[in-house]
Point group: C2
Chain length 279, copies 2
DNA sequence: CGGCCCCCATGATCCAGATCAACGCAACCG
DNA sequence: CGGTTGCGTTGATCTGGATCATGGGGGCCG
């Protein structure tokens, strides 16, 4: 007896960096035995009985899932499973068999490619609702690694294939997601090709700000759980430079560091200007 | 002076940049000798009468066209038209209505996006067989401009839509072309994000070399019709830097400048190494 | 609690490539 | 024909961000 989502999942990549706390996972996957029930399991079980997991999902209206009406969600539920990953754990690995497609439910992932000589280029950060692992060949074309404790929802590829065949709307959704990825890639090219350090940092913060929660006065507070090294890996800058740019933005009164790893954008207008042309 | 298929096409964008030297273009088409009607033209004209244009097309086995068997080619012929464009003429313009999709038949186009403040970033060069102007919104997302006298084949969008509906193979082809574009974009990100000037230039030449003709000894001779400024615009470098890097590669005996705008790669192996890690 | 480790911040210095400047050359033109 | 214009090349100089070096602070563990 399980909560309907806990078969062992061969398509999940196990942690190789930080040891991926076995207990996190155990807490979520009920493989400790049919009789042992954690509070979380009980809660999930209740939900599973009350409504399909997908229906209650935090990102139900994003990514692929948004393409299906509520009535068809159970079919998604049937081919997907949730999993928690700790910071440093990998969700997909570049070059390995692409067995599943993942939707990020919570947390943050960094997406990167590696050069033969070991240099790595981060091509993006996934935030909740983003889909990672879409591959049109048989292998993942990038590595996706959690930079904060995260939850992903994995859809077995074969199951997804079948579903896409039955639901033409998913096909269109895939196409538009792919083309959104292309747009994002081209924005990054624009950034790397012709923006300076300040413009890059502002562009990046601004992009995160769009999806970030706002404080009482409507100012976005962006969450930056990744290391400065990763941020630099994305922006084509060194961590020291990121640090200096943020300091300088703070001095100018454009941003405020609130809680650890959180930055509030105080002057969104000026910020938008900086994002495209510095000074 | 055309091969019988050049009705004026409302969806073609007329030149606005450099006045597209009529005689350059003539020189290109007639470059084997100054006759009234060249052998090539006579040949093309005869083809147009003898068989559907698409069947005899130089890029019949590339781009979208490759997805259709010979028997179905007339349907493509019906919705497409060839057109010659001179250097400096635009084929698509960023932000304008995407009325058609183009296949480059000969020549070369630069693909670029413009920042609000006028800076432009070249995101690629199209070589024969490449498709430009695929847009999933209603507008082109980039400008495509000839950097050498070129011939494009334009497919009216509405006609293409209908055709795609009737030929599911085209749908798959579109998807795979889109994903190839994404791959190319990510390669460029890798280049801009973590390669130095020499690596960038070598990576670029190597990519062109793959599709370039080879001399008697199998050495690729790449055609570089674009200005140094454009090459720099793609690689994120200034023209002076391009010039210096090429000079240094020449000094090391890796390349030889043959005819104007042509470079022969003499040591492909060393070159491949340089393309990923310089020195 | 103290020690360790990792990340961040900040100052000092360096350097790859940008920028500035000058010239050569070819195409074009009156 | 000489003048003009635009691109490419080369040299001199500048500079934004990389690199190097140091110190500080927070989390984790014994």
């Amino acid at each position: 007896m399980d909560v309907g989502e806990d078969q062992s999942m061969s398509f999940f990549v196990e942690a190789n960096g930080q040891p991926g706390r076995g207990d996190d996972r155990q807490g979520f996957l009920a493989n400790t035995g049919p009789h042992v029930q954690t509070p979380i399991q009980t809660q999930l079980q209740a939900q599973a009985q009350a409504a399909p997991r997908c229906l209650r999902c935090a990102v139900r209206n994003e990514g692929l899932c948004a393409a299906l009406p509520a009535g068809e969600l159970p079919e998604l539920t049937a081919i997907s499973r949730n999993r928690d990953v700790g910071a440093g754990e990998m969700v997909t690995i570049e070059g390995q068999d692409a067995d599943a497609v993942f939707t990020l439910v919570s947390g943050m992932l960094k997406i990167y490619k590696t050069l033969p000589d070991g240099r790595e280029q981060i091509t993006g950060f996934a935030t909740p609702g983003d889909v990672v692992g879409l591959a049109f060949g048989s292998c993942y074309v990038y590595t996706a690694e959690a930079v904060a404790p995260s939850t992903v929802c994995g859809m077995v590829r074969r199951g997804l294939h079948g579903l896409v065949d039955r639901k033409p709307r998913l096909q269109g959704r895939l196409l538009s997601m792919l083309s959104a990825e292309l747009t994002a890639a081209q924005d990054q090219i624009l950034m790397l090709g012709c923006k300076n350090a300040t413009e890059r940092v502002c562009t990046f913060l601004l992009a995160l700000a769009r999806r970030a929660p706002k404080d009482e006065q409507g100012r976005p507070v962006v969450f930056l759980p990744m290391k400065k090294l990763d941020m630099g890996g994305y922006l084509g800058l060194r961590p020291e430079t990121i640090s200096r740019v943020l300091r300088s933005l703070e001095t100018k009164g454009l941003i405020t560091r609130t809680r650890s790893a959180h930055i509030r954008i105080d002057d969104l207008d000026t910020f938008g200007d900086l994002a495209v042309a510095a000074e």
